[in-house]
């Protein structure tokens, strides 16, 4: 019984931790080099 409760709590916690990690790892910008396109325009 106690084990079932502990497992249920663990499952409840898991998605929250994953979401927090995703938020902290959010990469919001990406710089693109266009040096190789100099001959195009």
């Amino acid at each position: 019984m106690d084990n079932e409760l502990t497992e249920a709590q663990d499952r409840d916690d898991a998605p929250t931790a994953t979401l927090d990690e995703q938020v902290l790892d959010e990469q919001l910008i990406e710089e693109i080099s266009i040096d190789g396109m100099c001959g195009v325009y």
Partner: protein
């Protein structure tokens, strides 16, 4: 980009550089600097909202609050804005 550099940007008064154009894209926006010819993807619409609102707020922190950016996401936004400052997409402006 250090954590300190990203954090220090929160008190800055910034705006989009006058030579930068933002083009809306499904993922967010594409920023092009006509002076340096640099190109940066802004990969979330929330970041685009924040960047467009910077000239209406005294600090970056004020802009993040006004745009309802959750506290847990603000460090990532500060890092992104510090990166945009480094690449000259954003510029200091007088308050």
């Amino acid at each position: 980009m250090t954590v300190a550099a990203a954090h220090s940007v929160l008190d800055r008064t910034l705006a989009l550089h006058p030579q930068v154009a933002l083009r809306p894209e499904p993922f967010g926006a594409l920023a092009y600097h006509y002076g340096t010819r640099r190109l940066v993807f802004l990969k979330h619409p929330d970041l685009v909202r924040v960047v467009r609102s910077l000239d209406r707020h005294d600090t970056v922190a004020d802009a993040l609050i006004a745009c309802d950016i959750a506290p847990a996401r603000r460090p990532a936004f500060a890092t992104a804005i510090a990166g945009l400052l480094d690449s000259e997409m954003l510029d200091d402006r007088a308050r």
